[in-house]
């Protein structure tokens, strides 16, 4: 039996937090929360709370990381020690290193790095409160903060995860669903072109389930993109 018998969705398709399968947790976005940064964004997504701050473009140090034809993105994803019930040991670890890397690679596909040769753009993502899907929140917040900093970009990356719980595919997993669910599929999408820039999968999904999770992610990304655009236009979402 073990974790498999935890009931997370009822016969009517209502999840343990009252959402339906395709619903996303409530989102709020605020810009300019770090006044000294060139651009910043605080995104609350369900219980997740993330601050992203952008510094630069600036001279890339150390010199060996400089690229003669483009800028480099220096992404640092970090979870605050108090962000979860188990204290997180401060500093870089295997997980944060991996997330920093995939976030940088996703952002590299939209930021017009060739405009700033030999420079560095520092992207700091700090997780203040973690529930589930912090890498998605971090990536989305970082791309909104980059836009806020006036860095030229071809699109905004919106990231969202879907997964499988009790053999049902659902959108935007919460903590219980993430811990006890069967699969998790985080995706990073460019809403204007429909391109995919980030994809990971944890667990097993059949091709049909994968397609369903994909569709949920795509639809949710379009909705979240509208929130991000409104935040960029007015400084916050919701008003």
């Amino acid at each position: 039996m073990g974790y498999g018998d935890v009931q997370m969705i009822d016969a009517n398709g209502i999840r343990n937090d009252g959402r339906k399968a395709g619903d996303v947790r409530p989102i709020s976005i605020e810009l300019g929360v770090v006044p000294v940064a060139d651009g910043s964004c605080r995104m609350k997504w369900g219980t997740n709370d993330v601050i992203a701050a952008i510094y630069g473009p600036m001279e890339a140090h150390p010199r060996k990381i400089q690229r003669q034809d483009r800028a480099v993105l220096d992404v640092r994803y970090n979870m605050a020690p108090f962000s979860t019930s188990d204290r997180i040991r401060p500093g870089f670890n295997r997980r944060s290193r991996e997330i920093s890397k995939v976030t940088a690679e996703a952002l590299e596909s939209v930021v017009m790095l060739e405009l700033y040769p030999r420079s560095k753009i520092r992207v700091e993502i700090e997780i203040i409160c973690a529930e589930a899907g912090t890498r998605c929140v971090g990536l989305t917040a970082a791309s909104v903060a980059l836009a806020h900093a006036g860095i030229p970009m071809t699109d905004i990356v919106v990231s969202v995860a879907s997964g499988k719980i009790n053999d049902v595919v659902v959108c935007d997993l919460n903590k219980a669903e993430d811990n006890y669910g069967e699969a998790d599929l985080p995706m990073g999408v460019l809403p204007n072109s429909g391109e995919l820039v980030f994809l990971q999968m944890d667990g097993d999904l059949s091709p049909e389930e994968f397609q369903e999770a994909w569709d949920y992610n795509m639809n949710a990304a379009m909705v979240i993109h509208d929130y991000c655009v409104e935040a960029l236009k007015t400084g916050r979402y919701p008003q």
Partner: protein, 236 residues
């Protein structure tokens, strides 16, 4: 005026083919990066836009500006990118025997070779002419493709700043500070009785008595607050 149609909020059409300003074609339309701005054919691309597959896309967060057939974006925030001929205020960050490194607010420090310095100095005597931390008024002489730039102090009025204060403002707000044909700036100088020199990198040298300097500072602060209110609350 009976029977004449007057434009009011309640009788405005939502049709996209109606004449006059429309939701998606307003000159002051705010956009986010990636937003589609229509067909690129017949349009010149200005700052902050690119053409992808025949469509114009915004690359910055800001206001759309349509000037003739040129589409550009007036960004909300921007980093200073030096151009040859710019008058800038810089701080000396370091020096070697014959070169000063100058922070001009750009991604990269500019260099000021001794040959372009303010006065004759012996090899190794750079610090005795301009020391680290001092501010200078200089001009950008050359910008390379890799963004490294050379500044010069040879020219009218270029000097070491020995008095007054240096203040900062976002470079994209300089237009508002200066006004049409320098009108707003002239007025500010007259009111405050200060000497104000505006660098293209958003740094200003204010030289005058205490109250005058304070007046200029308040003006800068209100300008920044105004710009924020306009962009945040949509007051414009």
């Amino acid at each position: 005026m009976k029977g004449v149609l007057v434009a009011r909020l309640d009788n405005m059409t939502e049709r996209k083919n109606a004449a006059g300003p429309q939701d998606n074609q307003r000159a002051t339309q705010l956009v986010a990066p990636g937003e589609d701005l229509g067909d690129s054919e017949g349009h010149e691309l200005g700052h902050g836009v690119i053409a992808i597959d025949g469509r114009i896309r915004a690359t910055k967060n800001g206001r759309v500006n349509v000037n003739g057939n040129t589409i550009s974006i007036e960004p909300r925030r921007t980093a200073y990118v030096p151009r040859p001929g710019d008058l800038v205020i810089g701080y000396i960050e370091g020096c070697t025997n014959n070169i000063w490194f100058v922070d001009i607010g750009a991604p990269f420090n500019a260099i000021l070779p001794m040959s372009l310095g303010p006065s004759k100095a012996d090899f190794g005597g750079t610090r005795s002419v301009i020391d680290i931390g001092e501010a200078i008024l200089c001009r950008v002489q050359e910008v390379e493709e890799t963004h490294s730039s050379v500044v010069t102090m040879k020219g009218m009025g270029l000097r070491k700043i020995r008095s007054g204060a240096v203040e900062n403002i976002d470079p994209h707000l300089l237009g508002r500070l200066i006004g049409k044909q320098g009108k707003a700036l002239r007025q500010l100088k007259e009111e405050s009785e200060c000497r104000v020199i505006v660098g293209d990198n958003g740094r200003l040298w204010i030289d005058g008595d205490f109250n005058g300097t304070l007046e200029v500072r308040n003006r800068l602060r209100s300008l920044t607050a105004e710009a924020k209110a306009v962009t945040l609350g949509g007051v414009a």
